[in-house]
């Protein structure tokens, strides 16, 4: 394997692992902020107990999110130095702003919140968790503005003498519609994941009738929130799909495995791409005009097929296609699950089947988010910056064996951390609200 592929694998490992922790941080911080608001407004100790229990899980998750995020910022330099030198003028500033505007705020006030129960007043304590939640979500915005530049570069000009892209309009970079579409889709997904996490853990306890009063409260609190989010998530996904169709026709064609340019393109419920043969091995149950309609809001619209995109500009079709299909299917499942939960809200205890489904569902939003990123990033290939710079031109002049070694280290260390994280989250989730740290 060459340094490009190894570096891509390493980045994939690092970013996917980081993204196990990020969405729960984004989602659960808002849930915690809302719970603590209820506590401060009502003075009801039951809400404080909620904050303490979910807060413990939040902290375990947060630490891993922090440490795995640091390696990402530096990997642009270690593994993608040519990329960094070429677009650092734009991309680097977004990362630097993320740290100074958001990440300091998040880390500092997390400590105030975590250690400050007896040291700062109730209102200041409440303000701290809101600052953590807001800063985390702002942090995500800057990161996605940076990623949005890679997907749909704007506000730059290539300076041929300096041999790099330079910023021409910061305003254009900040108002990049593609990036905002990604941001909406990503944070809504993260918030929904936070909701499903609370639903899943609560359901586990409700099934065992442990701390029923406590977990009924958390289950009922997040059900409407998660329902609204899953619906908004679908809407944001649709908007983002249209962005992709508009700005990244190759990605759209790959994620739909659509080969022949044409109008009135049907959507096949069943399809399986055949990259060698430039077509689909299986193509059945077509709904006429649907692909044109979901891509452009017009059933007669023309959709460019992969055959009209030069072979060396095409992303890998199969992984993009499968990731996209699986993500959409999971999104549909989430809507059904939360609708089901919402209809049971009037009951004292939701039916066991729903509770079981919620427990089994815990990993699925994580998988859905990963698949979403796989679509975004694999679908962008062979470009590191869409239409501007190829991934193969972006890699550092570091020898492949060195990268292979570091990739091995990443896999080993991250697997260990992943196992520890799951073990500890499970342990504290199962212990329930009465447990004290030892």
């Amino acid at each position: 394997m060459d340094a490009v592929l190894l570096s891509r694998l390493q980045f994939a490992v690092a970013v996917f692992f980081h993204f196990i922790f990020v969405p729960l941080t984004l989602g659960l911080s808002l849930v915690l902020a809302w719970m603590e608001t209820r506590y401060v407004l009502s003075g009801d100790e039951a809400w404080k107990k909620q904050v303490k229990f979910w807060g413990k899980l939040f902290i375990i998750n947060f630490t891993l999110g922090v440490v795995t995020g640091i390696t990402l910022e530096f990997q642009f330099g270690t593994n993608w130095s040519r990329y960094s030198a070429y677009v650092g003028d734009i991309f680097g500033s977004l990362l630097a702003i993320e740290a100074t505007v958001a990440f300091f705020l998040e880390s500092t006030f997390l400590a105030v919140w975590h250690f400050g129960w007896n040291r700062v007043g109730k209102k200041l304590h409440l303000a701290s968790i809101w600052l953590v939640a807001i800063a985390g979500n702002i942090s995500a915005l800057w990161i996605i503005l940076a990623n949005g530049f890679m997907q749909h570069p704007v506000g730059y000009a290539v300076n041929a003498t300096a041999g790099r892209a330079e910023l021409t309009s910061f305003f254009d970079v900040l108002t990049n519609g593609y990036a905002w579409g990604m941001y909406a889709h990503t944070v809504l997904g993260a918030w929904a994941l936070g909701g499903f996490f609370v639903l899943g853990v609560s359901a586990w306890h409700l099934l065992r009738r442990s701390h029923t009063e406590f977990f009924r409260r958390s289950f009922r609190m997040v059900t409407p929130w998660t329902l609204v989010l899953t619906l908004l998530l679908a809407l944001a996904g649709d908007i983002q799909g249209k962005n992709v169709a508009h700005y990244q026709p190759a990605k759209l064609a790959a994620l739909e495995s659509h080969w022949e340019t044409g109008r009135n393109v049907p959507f096949y419920l069943l399809a399986l791409p055949d990259e060698e043969g430039e077509g689909n091995m299986v193509e059945a149950l077509g709904i006429p005009g649907l692909l044109s309609w979901i891509s452009y809001g017009d059933a007669a619209a023309e959709v460019k097929g992969l055959k009209d995109i030069p072979k060396n500009d095409r992303p890998p079709v199969l992984p993009t296609f499968l990731s996209f299909r699986a993500m959409v299917a999971l999104g549909g499942l989430f809507v059904l699950l939360t609708l089901w939960a919402a209809f049971q809200l009037r009951k004292d205890t939701p039916c066991p089947l729903l509770l079981k489904a919620m427990v089994w569902n815990i990993p699925l939003p994580y998988i859905a988010l990963m698949l979403g990123w796989a679509v975004a990033e694999i679908g962008r290939q062979p470009w590191i910056v869409y239409g501007l710079m190829r991934t193969s031109d972006a890699v550092s002049p570091v020898p492949a064996p060195t990268v292979a070694m570091s990739l091995g280290a990443f896999i080993a260390i991250y697997s260990l951390l992943g196992i520890l994280d799951i073990y500890l989250l499970r342990k504290y989730a199962i212990q329930g609200p009465e447990a004290r740290e030892v």
């Binding site: 630490t63 390696t71 100074t100 990440f103 500092t108 910061f170 002049p397």
Partner: protein, 341 residues
């Protein structure tokens, strides 16, 4: 002009990182030496408890600013220092999770495991930072294409190793002073004694490092060209001497502040000697990445300067406030709190 301002800001961010995370690293390194029982070990984790995360963000800010203001220097620096940088990041990962995980399972061997990991990751991170910066001061074998012609061992040259020992000692002193501020009773006594004990070692190391710097690097060329810069090594020495005076008077915060001045001046001493070089090539002077040939466009530098001038004071203000909130020493009663590490 913009480039020079950014070069100074770049040094400020690294200096802040060393001052703030330096004491966490020092306390972690002292863990097996100073803590005699479980309570004391926990106190040592908790004196850094509410701070280490916010402190580490200064590293991210320093890295981010290198990327934003000097993308070319960032690209060459971090790809050339590939192995030591990733090692540093791995040690910081283990340092962080050892805080979080150690007290999560009530089992003696689990704690021993995380205590060992905590100790080794702190000591390794301190040494790696020193080795990396000493090599940056001296220059590393990179060519004009940014390709690094060396390996990890070529960084472990005498001057690089001296830098590693120097940083380790600097952080141990800084950490001992922080522990003295934030603890009571026996642990505090031991922390103060450690500071007294390590101080002469630090003084010898500082003088030796200045001599070695004159022998192995070109840093003093800038000083000879602009003698006013000699204020920096003098400030470093003054800071270190003040540490001793304040310790003697029992003014622990002032001693810690003097140590901070010492660390900050040492950082500036090195970086001022490098100016305008950021990634000095030991192969070919023309291949050196400087603040001028590696900087971002004026527009980016201006926007980022606006962001930095607004945000850094705000960050400093709220971080100072949290230091104030958590300034009380950690006692055995504090360990009863179910949020303590």
């Amino acid at each position: 002009m913009l480039e020079t301002i950014w070069f100074i800001l770049w040094a400020v961010l690294w200096g802040m990182f060393f001052i703030l995370d330096g004491f966490d690293l020092g306390v972690g390194t002292l863990l097996p030496v100073l803590a005699k029982n479980e309570d004391e070990r926990r106190i040592m984790y908790n004196v850094a408890g509410p701070f280490w995360d916010g402190n580490e963000v200064w590293l991210i800010a320093a890295g981010g600013v290198t990327f934003a203001a000097f993308p070319k220097a960032y690209a060459v620096m971090f790809s050339a220092l590939y192995v030591p940088l990733l090692l540093l990041l791995f040690t910081l990962i283990f340092r962080a999770v050892s805080f979080e995980f150690r007290n999560k399972v009530a089992h003696a061997s689990w704690r021993v495991l995380w205590d060992s990991i905590h100790f080794f990751s702190n000591i390794a991170a301190s040494v790696l930072l020193g080795v990396a910066f000493a090599n940056l001061f001296m220059g590393i074998p990179v060519d004009a294409q940014g390709v690094y012609h060396g390996n990890l061992l070529s960084l472990l040259n005498p001057y690089g190793l001296a830098g590693g020992v120097f940083f380790l000692c600097m952080f141990i002193l800084h950490g001992a002073l922080w522990l003295a501020i934030k603890s009571r009773d026996d642990l505090q006594t031991r922390a103060v004694a450690t500071a007294f004990f390590i101080w002469p070692v630090m003084l010898v190391l500082l003088l030796a490092f200045l001599v070695l710097t004159a022998m192995h690097t070109n840093l003093f060329a800038n000083y000879l060209a602009m003698p006013a810069l000699f204020i920096l090594p003098i400030l470093a020495l003054a800071g270190l001497i003040l540490v001793r005076i304040m310790l003697r008077e029992g003014r622990l915060w002032a001693a810690w502040g003097s140590s901070a001045l010492f660390i900050f001046s040492v950082t500036f001493f090195g970086v001022a000697g490098m100016f305008p070089g950021m990634i000095i090539s030991s192969l070919d002077p023309a291949a050196t990445g400087t603040a001028f040939n590696g900087a971002s466009s004026p527009l980016t530098l201006k926007i980022m300067l606006g962001v930095a001038l607004v945000m850094v004071p705000i960050v400093l203000a709220y971080q100072c406030w949290t230091y104030h909130v958590f300034s009380a020493p950690v006692t055995r009663e504090d360990l009863e709190d179910d949020h303590a590490y």
